[in-house]
Amino acid sequence: MDPILLVLATLDGIAYAALVFLVAVGLTLIFGVMRILNVAHGGFYAIGAYAAASLVLSVSGADLNPWLTFPALLVAAGAVGAVLGLVIERGLLRHIYAKEEVLQLLVTFAAFMILEDVQRLVWGVQPYAATDPVRLLGTVEVMGIPYNAYQIILLPAIALLVLVGLRWFLRHTLSGKVITAVTEDRETAITVGIDARRVFTITFVIGAVLASLGGALASPTTAIQLGLGAEMIVLSFAVVATAGLGQVEGAALAALLIGLGRSFAVYLVPELDVLIPYMIMVLVLLVRPQGLFAVAEKRRI
C-alpha cells in the first residue's frame, strides 16, 4: 500500500472513530444503567446534526463573527440532547421499565420512527452542508500530507475530552458514583436508597446530549440527509457490541478498531467498506459472545 494512502486511511479512521465513539458511548452508558438499548439514539444523532447545520448556517449568514459557529455547534447539541432526552425518558421510557425486554426495544424503535419524520417535517428532504467550521480551522500537515485540522485535531480532542471527562465524572462526582453503583448492581443500589428514577433521567440525558454532540460535530464534514440516523445507530451498536454492552472505555477502543477498519477498507476494497465494521463485530462476537471487554454472566439456577 502506498504510504500516503496509509497515512490518509489512518487519519480518516481516527476522525471517524471519534464521531462514532461519541454516539456509541452514550448508547453504552444508557444500556449500562437502564438495561435498555435505545434505538432512538440514531434519531438524537441525526437531529443534533440537522439542528447544528441550521444554526451554523444562520450564524454564517447573519454577518456575525464566523468563529461563533463553534459555540453554535455545542449549543445546538446541548439543546437537542437535553430536550429530546428529557421528553423521551420522562414521557415514554418511564412507563415501560417494568415491561418485557422485547417491548422496551420496540418502544425505542417506535420513537426512532417518529424522530425520522420529525426530521423530514422540520428540515425537508434536501441535504444540508455547513462547512464553515472546517474552513476556519484550516489544514495541518501530517507526515507531509495536508489534512483538515477540524477532523484530525478537534474531533479526536473532543472525543478524548469526553472519555476522560466521563471517567472522572463516573469516579469522582456523587452523581457519577451513583450511576456507577446502579450499573454494577441495580438491586443493591435501590435497596440502599438510591433514587433510580433520577439516575435514569440523568443518564439518559447525558447519553442523548453525547449522541446529538456526535451529530453536531459530524455536520460540518458530512452531508446531512435522511437515513443518517439509521446508519449511525447500527454502526454504534456494532461498536458497543464489539466492546461489550455497558463498557465505556472499551467503546473507545472498539470505535477506533472499527473506524480504522472501515477507512482502510475505503482505500483498499471500496465495494466492501460498509461490510467491514460488521465483519469485525461478527468475528469478535464469534470468539467472545459478550464482547471484547465485558465479563460473561451466568444466570443463577
Partner: protein, 323 residues
C-alpha cells in the same frame, strides 16, 4: 352478537370476492398478502420472544432472486420463482441464523438489523449487478405453463397468493402447536428448563428462523412479480420495521393476525399515505406506542374480547398468555 364468531370467515370471503367488485384493488391486496407472509415470519420469531429488525433482507433477497432468474433465463414460470425465492431466502436464513440464534433480545434484533443494512448497502452499491437504486425490472412469468395477459395474470397471482397465505397459515398454526412450536415459546419463558429437557434452544430457534426467512422469501417473490420491479428499498430497515409493526398491530404471536394486520395496514396506507406521506412513519410510531402501552394484544385481542362479550360461556379458543 353471535355473528362475531364468524367474523374471520366473513373477512376471508370478503377479501376473496373484493377484486371481483373492485378489480384495481387486487394489486393492493396482493401486496398485503405478500407482506402478510413476511409478517407471518416475524410472528414465528415473536413466539420465541425474539424480534427481528431486519427481516426485509429475506424479502429482498427472494425478490432479487426472482429478478435474476427472469433476466438470466429470459422468462420463467411463477411456480419456479416462488420456490426459488423461498429456497434462496431459506438458505440465507440458515447461514445468518447459525450466527444470530446464539443471541437473544437486543442482540438478536440489532444483529438482524445490521445484516439487513449490509444487504441493502450491497444492493445499492453493486450497480453493475443489481442496477443500484434504480433496481431491476421483473417481466411477467408464465403461470404454471400458461402465458397470461396482464389482468388475467394479476387475478391469477392474487388468488394464488390467497391460497399460499391460507396454506402458510395452516402450516404455521400446526407448527406452533407441535412440540417444536411449544419448545419455541419455551425459549421465551424458560430456556434453562428447555436445555434441561435435552432440547437445544439454538437448534429450535434456528429451525424457526429458517422457516421465518422462507416465509418472508415467499412474500418477496410474490411482491417482485406483482410490482414488476425490484429495488433495494425492499430490504431497507423501514420495511423491516413495517413488518414488525404489522405483527404487533395484528396481535403479537398470532397467525391470522398477521394477515388481518397486513390488509388493514395496506388499505389504510393506500388511502392515507398520499395525504400524509411526510408523517407516515410518525403515525406508525405513535400507533405502535399506543398498541404496546394500551392494547398489547392487537387486532386479535380486540376480536377475542368481542367473542368473549358475545358468548361469555364460550371464551376464545386460545388463552391469552400472561405477561
Amino acid at each position: 352478537m353471535r355473528f362475531v364468531r364468524f367474523l374471520p370467515a366473513v373477512l376471508v370471503l370478503a377479501v376473496a370476492l373484493l377484486p371481483l367488485a373492485v378489480p384495481w384493488l387486487k394489486i393492493i391486496l396482493t401486496v398485503a398478502l405478500a407482506k402478510g407472509l413476511a409478517v407471518l415470519g416475524v410472528v414465528v420469531l415473536l413466539r420465541a420472544g425474539q424480534v427481528s429488525f431486519g427481516h426485509a433482507m429475506f424479502f429482498a433477497a427472494s425478490a432479487y432472486s426472482a429478478a435474476f432468474l427472469m433476466q438470466g433465463f429470459g422468462g420463467m414460470d411463477l411456480a419456479v420463482l416462488l420456490l426459488a425465492g423461498m429456497l434462496c431466502s431459506g438458505a440465507m436464513g440458515a447461514v445468518i441464523g447459525l450466527f444470530v440464534v446464539r443471541y437473544r433480545y437486543i442482540f438478536f434484533g440489532m444483529l438482524n438489523l445490521a445484516f439487513s443494512m449490509v444487504l441493502y448497502a450491497l444492493l445499492e452499491k453493486m450497480f453493475h449487478v443489481t442496477g443500484g437504486s434504480d433496481g431491476m425490472a421483473v417481466g411477467r412469468p408464465t403461470y404454471f405453463g400458461f402465458e397470461l395477459e396482464r389482468t388475467a395474470f394479476e387475478t391469477a397471482l392474487f388468488y394464488s397468493s390467497l391460497v399460499l397465505a391460507g396454506a402458510a397459515c395452516w402450516c404455521v398454526h400446526r407448527f406452533l402447536r407441535s412440540p417444536l412450536g411449544e419448545a419455541l415459546s419455551a425459549i421465551r419463558t424458560n430456556e434453562t428448563r428447555l436445555e434441561y429437557l435435552g432440547i437445544s434452544a439454538r437448534r429450535v430457534l434456528l429451525i424457526a428462523y429458517v422457516l421465518s426467512a422462507a416465509l418472508a422469501g415467499l412474500g418477496g417473490a410474490v411482491i417482485a412479480v406483482n410490482q414488476g420491479v425490484v429495488t433495494p428499498d425492499l430490504g431497507y430497515w423501514i420495511r423491516s420495521g413495517e413488518f414488525v409493526f404489522i405483527a404487533i398491530l395484528g396481535g403479537a404471536g398470532n397467525v391470522l393476525g398477521a394477515f388481518a394486520g397486513a390488509l388493514v395496514y395496506e388499505l389504510v396506507r393506500f388511502y392515507a399515505a398520499a395525504m400524509a406521506a411526510d408523517v407516515w412513519q410518525m403515525i406508525l410510531g405513535f400507533v405502535l406506542l399506543g398498541i404496546i402501552l394500551f392494547a398489547s394484544r392487537g387486532f386479535v385481542g380486540l376480536y377475542q374480547d368481542l367473542v368473549a362479550v358475545a358468548a361469555p360461556d364460550r371464551p376464545g379458543r386460545e388463552r391469552e398468555p400472561k405477561r
